[in-house]
Symmetry: C2
Subunit: 338 residues, 2 copies
DNA sequence: CCACGTGGTTACATCGATGTAAATACCCTG
DNA sequence: CAGGGTATTTACATCGATGTAACCACGTGG
């Protein structure tokens, strides 16, 4: 703060005009080598650093993008954030992280609030927003959706094939002879989210195997943390007719469930099999290790950043929205006999 | 982008001067109620949003602070980040998250790079920087250090009493009759970090109990992830004279170690006791649950934000640096007989 | 020897919001 | 109703960097 050096100070020190300093800063080609050197020297001598507010004001770009996720302490999102930051850095921009807590107002804030203001675009992992919200709130803001395409799919979007992934995970459990498979975190209706699609895949797998669907086995949760998985598993364990396997819609739920079952004397994979989603680091090191659907997080991050930067660079481009489908693998570990 | 609304558009629409609109925006008191209402209406009608670049340029403040941590996918940091964001929001500012990967260049970047530029101050959890780096690189930048006070302690700092915490954890293991306690992630010399201090506390506890110190039991690690804990535990398990307890300098290490020991047929807490640090959510739900030192993360976050904002608001205040010592508790869980 | 082109440099306006200070409108007191 | 405030509004300059366009000094081709 104290005595900040401005471009004009550098200009004075080097005996040139401010604009010439600017030209040097921006690698404008027609600057005499001697001048360039002198300016560089003055910059060094005075410890000059560009003021980004000034630059942004003039240029209209910040070089920052927002990544808005529900919760950073859900490992999937912090791991994903890491990849997004890496991808962004490679493309020369910086990531501003915004946490929505899955709340509608905070998701809207990601689109029109502070972050959106100082940012050139948003990668949004939305839980509550509808297509209409998105269209209304930020008609001109470049946005890429993560997870699920919302509504009419008019926005760019990156995700895995959740239906297929859930189908595959369920088929795996069925192949192991499980018949009463609960879906922890599942949803039959309501928000148009990933949970709905995964539940759909689950039902498809049941149908394909000729196993009747039991709505009682779709267990909603408040959040996707260890605690919620433990709660859900407890409730299931106390039923007169407990399930023989759990399809948990993320690994935290799976891990919490495994612990709760353990407390009920129901070992995994002995008494029940458990499969999760996300392949967070924990899943590889717990007792037991957790079978899971492993999405290609790096691919997702890279695709999201690329798509967003494309939109930012060519906002006029009226080409329709892109939908990038990233890969995933089912990894069978101890929790389902691996 | 397309046809952005500026303050002067609102002014024209409302039939007042731009400055009056500005006054309404900033809740200047001497604005006639009718005028205020009219301006508000125009703002609404046109969908106006302030341009932060312009505002910042004029005001010299951004209302953003940087939080720089080594890794977001270390749960302690993502949980802490969550609290910092909450604390910052309560004080009306926004957090820009910067990941250093524990690399020196990226820690320096947090002080003088892009983020520091557009940010009013930095909360830094540094691994490699020295006091000199900090003084040289950012003499005028408000900074609060997390974790360990570096060097001469000339900067504001927030942390727990790591020596006491490690002493207490070690004493707990000793009280359970353990005598060969390894320190996973420990360090005898080198970086002036938290690891050094915790190792120091460990030694103090040994000395107090009259147990001889064995340098072989201080096991450094590459990083503080599950994988590194597992590796370290494996190496220890294969020694001719394995330890009978592990003091792991974070919970990830503890969890990874527990898993590796399990694979060696060394159950925790049967064969060895294990204690970690940080009390991440996982520690409460794994099998076994993990004893740990639980720092008051919320208190740390709040103190850091408060201290930083104080510095930002009163940069002239030449009062010496503040050192806030946050609380912690030893939570005994299954991994050490709880 | 002139017109013209090109490299190098600069004056000026501008991005959008706001602090300063001055202008205008309004109200009360005596 | 004049004088002296107070409330409200506004003109203008400014924050720092950069796009535009003009300028100067050469050198070259004709």
């Amino acid at each position: 703060m104290a005595a900040r050096v401005r471009i004009k100070d550098v200009a004075a020190h080097a005996g040139v005009s401010p604009k010439t300093v600017s030209n040097v800063l921006n690698d404008y080609e027609h600057v005499a080598p001697a001048t360039r050197a002198a300016v560089r020297e003055s910059i060094e001598a005075l410890g000059y650093r560009v003021n980004l507010a000034g630059r942004q004001l003039r240029r209209g770009r910040t070089g920052m993008i927002t990544l808005a996720v529900p919760e950073l302490d859900v490992a999937y999102f912090s791991e994903l954030a890491k990849h997004v930051m890496t991808a962004a850095e490679r493309r020369g921009c910086t990531v501003l992280l915004h946490q929505t807590d899955g709340r509608r107002d905070r998701e809207l804030a990601a689109l029109s609030g502070f972050e959106a203001q100082i940012t050139d675009g948003v990668v949004l992992s939305a839980l509550t927003l509808t297509a209409r919200d998105l269209a209304e709130r930020a008609p001109h803001l470049p946005v890429v959706l993560l997870g699920e395409r919302h509504g009419d799919g008019t926005l760019d979007h990156v995700g895995i094939d959740n239906v297929a992934a859930a189908r595959e995970a369920t088929a795996h459990l069925l192949a192991r002879g499980r018949r009463r498979i609960a879906v922890v975190g599942g949803a039959l209706r309501g928000r148009q989210g990933t949970d709905r699609l995964r539940t759909l895949g689950y039902r498809e797998a049941l149908r394909a195997a000729g196993v009747p669907f039991d709505g009682e086995l779709v267990v909603p949760v408040d959040a996707f943390h260890w605690l919620d998985g433990a709660r859900a598993a407890r409730a299931l364990a106390e039923r007169p007719e407990p399930p023989d396997a759990l399809l948990c819609l993320n690994d935290h739920l799976a891990l919490g469930a495994v612990r709760a079952l353990y407390e009920y004397g129901l070992p995994v994979p002995g008494a029940l099999d458990v499969v999760g989603f996300d392949d967070i680091e924990a899943a590889r090191f717990t007792i037991p290790t957790i079978s899971t659907i492993a999405p290609d997080k790096e691919g997702i991050a890279r695709a999201a950043v690329d798509l967003l930067l494309d939109r930012i660079e060519r906002p006029d481009r009226e080409s329709g929205p892109s939908h990038h489908v990233a890969g995933y693998r089912l990894i069978v570990r101890e929790s389902s006999g691996g």
